[in-house]
Structures are given as C-alpha cells and as structure tokens.
C-alpha cells in the first residue's frame, strides 16, 4: 500500500481560473491551489477592466463626471449618479427640492431592483437554472423600459444632475408603473417558486461561502452580504438621505451569512424596493425639480434664450463648470451591493481635484480568498455570484 501511494501524484495542483471563464465574467482571475477538489488557497487578481476613472474625473468639470459614473456599476447606473450628485451637493451645501428627492428615490429603487434581478438571474444561470435566468431578464427588461421612459437610456442613464435632474418624470409614468406590477409580480413569483425551494439550488448555495460576522465586518462587507450575516446596517436606515426617513420599509436580515442567505436577502429587498416605490409615487409632491439658483444647476433652455442672467449662468456653467468651495467631503449611499461612497477634494476650481469612489464590490472581492478556502472548487461559482463583483466598479 505504501508503495502505491509513493507512485501517486498527491501534490497540490495550481490552476488558473479566468479571466476567460464564463463565471468570472472576463474581469477577474483566480489563482487556485487545489488539493483534489478542495481549495487550499485562492488568490484574486483584478484590474482587467481598469479605465482610469479617477484620473479621467480630474480632467473634466463636475457635471461631466456623470457619464463616467454610469459606467461604474452598469446594472444600476442611476445609483452611481445619485451617489456622486449627493457628494457634490454636500460639498456645495445645496438643498435639493422635495420633488427631486422623491423622483431620485423612485429611480434609485428601480435601479436596485434591476441590479438584484441581474445578480440572481446570473447566479441561477451559472448554477444551471436557465429558466430562472430568462424570467428575471424579462422582468429586468420591463424595469429598463420604465427607466428608458424616464431618461431615454436603458443602461447608461446619465439622469441625475447636481442640484436636480435631467428632466421630470414623463406624463403617465405612474400608470405605466402600475401597469407593470402584475407582470413583475408574476415573474418574481415564478422565479421564487423555481429557486427558493429547489433542492439542487439549495444544495449548491446553502453552507457555501459563509463567513463569520467579525470577519465580515473586518473585511468591510456592506449591503446584502453583510446583512445576510445578521448585521443590521443599511445606510438608508442608519443615515437617511433623500427622503428615506419618510418612507416605511424593512431591512431583511439573514442568519448564517452563507450564499443562500445572501440570495434570500436580495429576493426580499426586491419586494421592499417595490414597497418604497409605491409609497414614494403616492406621496410625491408637485413643484420644481431643480434648484432655483442658475449658478448651481444649468437653467432651463427657454430661460437661457429669454433672460439675461440665465444666459450668463448657462455660459459660466458650461465653460467653467460649477465651482464648489475649497474642501473635502465623503458621502456614503446604499447601493445595490453595499456602501457606495464618493470622496471628493475640491481646490475651488471647476474640476474635481480628487474624485475617489468607494466601490462596494472591491472590498467583497478582496475577501474571496477567505470565503472559498477549505471549500470545494464548485463552491467558488455561487460565492462569486453572490458577492456580485462588477468589473467596472471594482477596477474603476
């Protein structure tokens, strides 16, 4: 018997997984050390989608940063817009109008829903559940149609402006929204029935990728992944921004912090987001969407052509850009995957001196090694799906 073992190859095997692997989305590489099928060590290599976001932002005016923020997390572009706008507004001390806050909340939650749809659909697909993928992609298409009605674009919305919005909600938007609920609910129901009690799905998801609470906090987990571990931290509740303090919604919490809890938290968050949208649409006040000061928000086109002051302001805003006071600011918001914050440094000119984004999936990706160690090779797939690493946001 001893002789037999001597002749067997029992050393660890080193395996490259990605970047050209369907489950790594072409944006990340894992260097695996395997003992049979057990993961001994996992090293993550990121940077394949780096486009120099910060360097580009330093060369354009504050309002020109918005198209770049769209391309951070392209599944929920409006959330990135809102995060950046709120940071600049805090820096300049701009108080936005009440209607603008409500519209931002509605679009923010629509973006959150589409992000969770994408995440769960992709996770189901990579575990072999093609039907659930098709259902949620259909639902996501309905949400994107709604967003297209609002801002004219499906993915890269570029809808939010400093001190306001690009435009008001289109006429009849409330009816369109109400008309889409039955279809979205039935699709949600279908996916829920297909996945939540599915034996195969539970076997792949439950007890995989779990991480203790202390570790999760130490790694800087936020969003659904942290709440799946049972930590009640949501920026919308703890430090309400926009009008989240006036809206009644619940924060779902998990218990074990494994992949199945992360999935359940996301499913519940979709429901809660619809609850928020319904309340916000019902409570939405009338009034202006932009701040009145033309030197803070580009004035409306009819005013630019008819009035002197607005014309001067328009020229100044386009050529020089908005000039915040000298200083620095950090503003965290709750994006679909966790805390999305912008750290800005202003030197008093029209261009940001420094524009750092704190992406949620960056810190989650860093913890991949710890989450996968000791597990099976196949467990990497659901774990990586549930942290929802978006290349554009992680690598910037």
């Amino acid at each position: 018997m001893a002789d037999l073992k001597e002749n067997l190859h029992t050393d660890h095997m080193v395996l490259n997984m990605g970047p050209s692997h369907p489950a790594t989305h072409g944006t990340v590489k894992f260097l695996l050390t395997l003992d049979g099928e057990t993961v001994v060590n996992l090293e993550t290599e990121i940077g394949y989608l780096h486009r120099g976001f910060e360097k580009m932002c330093e060369s354009v005016t504050y309002s020109n940063v918005f198209p770049y923020t769209d391309r951070l997390n392209y599944c929920s572009a409006i959330m990135n817009n809102i995060g950046f706008a709120l940071a600049v507004e805090k820096l300049c001390d701009i108080e936005i109008t009440e209607r603008c806050k409500y519209i931002r909340v509605v679009t923010n939650e629509l973006a959150r829903i589409s992000d969770h749809y994408t995440n769960i659909a992709a996770a189901a697909l990579e575990l072999g559940a093609l039907t659930a993928f098709i259902y949620f992609v259909e639902a996501r298409e309905i949400v994107w149609d709604l967003l297209e009605k609002v801002c004219g674009a499906r993915l890269t919305s570029n809808y939010i402006r400093i001190g306001g919005l690009m435009c008001d909600l289109p006429p009849g938007f409330d009816e369109d929204l109400k008309a889409s609920y039955p279809k979205l609910d039935s699709l949600f129901e279908d996916v829920d029935n297909l996945l939540t009690k599915n034996r195969i799905f539970i076997d792949r998801m439950a007890d995989t990728g779990a991480i203790p609470v202390e570790s999760a906090i130490s790694w800087g987990f936020t969003g659904p992944c942290l709440r799946a571990s049972g930590v009640d931290y949501d920026v919308r509740k703890n430090h309400p921004y926009l009008c989240y303090d006036k809206i009644d919604f619940d924060i779902p919490l998990g218990k074990t912090g494994d992949n199945f809890d992360r999935y359940l938290v996301r499913m519940e968050e979709i429901k809660q987001s619809f609850r928020i949208i319904k309340q916000a649409m019902a409570d939405m006040p009338d009034g202006p969407i932009n701040v009145a000061n033309p030197y803070l928000r580009n004035p409306a086109k009819p005013d630019v052509y008819a009035r002197m002051e607005e014309m001067i302001a328009h020229f100044k805003m386009v050529i020089d850009g908005l000039k915040p006071p000298v200083g620095e600011v950090y503003f965290p918001t709750e994006a679909a995957n966790g805390e999305l914050g912008f750290y800005l440094v202003s030197d008093g000119s029209g261009k940001p001196y420094k524009c750092r984004v704190r992406p949620p999936s960056f810190t989650l990706t860093a913890a991949m090694g710890e989450m996968c160690q000791g597990g099976m090779l196949a467990d990497i797939i659901p774990t990586f799906d549930m942290i929802n690493m978006i290349g554009g946001e992680c690598d910037r």
């Binding site: 910060e54 360097k55 805090k90 130490s218 930590v231 620095e328 914050g341 420094k354």
Partner: protein, 176 residues
Amino acid sequence: MTSEEIVEKVKASLADAIQDTALPQGDAVIFVAPDCLQKVAAFLKDDPSLKFDYLSDVSGVDYLNEEREPRFEAVYLLYSIDHQHSIRVRVGIEEDNPSVPTVSELWKGALYPEQELFDMFGIFIEGHPKNERLIMPKEWSGNPLRKDYPLTTETVTFSHNRDFKSDLVKSKPPTR
C-alpha cells in the same frame, strides 16, 4: 457620539499624536503623522465608546499643485456599526521615500485599498504582506494618480475628417 464629541475625546486621549482636528460639513476629521498612525488606529478601534470596527475605505491624495506640505496624504474612512458614527483620519506623507504603516492587522478590509495606494501613488506600505501592483499591470512604470503623471490620449487611426492622416496611415506601404 456627535462629531464634536468624537474629536474632543480623541484629542483628550491622544493629545501628543493628533496634529490637528477639523469639522468640515459636520464630519469629524483628525490629522495624524505616519509614525503615530498605528497607535491612533488601535485606539480608535478598541476604545469602547468609539469602537470604529469598520474601515470603509483608504484613499490617497497628491497635493502637488497646492501650496502645502507634505505632498501626499492617505485618508482613512472609519465607521462604527454599533454607535453609528464616523471619523476621517488624514495622514500627511513626505514626498521623499513616501511610506505609511499598514492598518491591515486591525481591519482586513485595508489590504486591497492599501495595495492600491502603493500602485497608484507609489506610497510604500510598511508591514503590508504584498507591496506590489494591484490594478495596473505588474510591468507598468509610474504611478498613475500622481499629479505629475501625464493624462495622455490615444492617437486615433482613422477620422471622419478627410484631411486627417494618422502616422499609421502615413506609414502604410503603398498598395499596388
């Protein structure tokens, strides 16, 4: 605790380690020298009334164009999940051989952002397990987020402007 109370408490407990404090837009900000960073960070994490258990981000700033010393700055954003308050720690770093001690022993979440700080600003992280590039390719030279690193544009090969001829087009061998 409110930002004022946090700043007062930190100042009272670690008077010799804190260079300065500020309250921009109501946020608590403290200025620390690199050699005191680990001491201050450990205090911020372990003190029961502060308990900053969650490091949300580490980023760097290059103040080359500004009239100020020192040139670099590392910014640590801390938050306490139990007490729901936050603080910003700003660490000024000299231009020659810039280096700052790691805080990744206290918060594992610092590992990646600190590595990025090394990659993007060339600031050496003392005690970090991996002082190597994270986002840029391993063979890259220069530190892209330094202010003296030029922002270049890619030359285009083709244009709808008929008179435009790029170098590639000009150097193209003649076809038959």
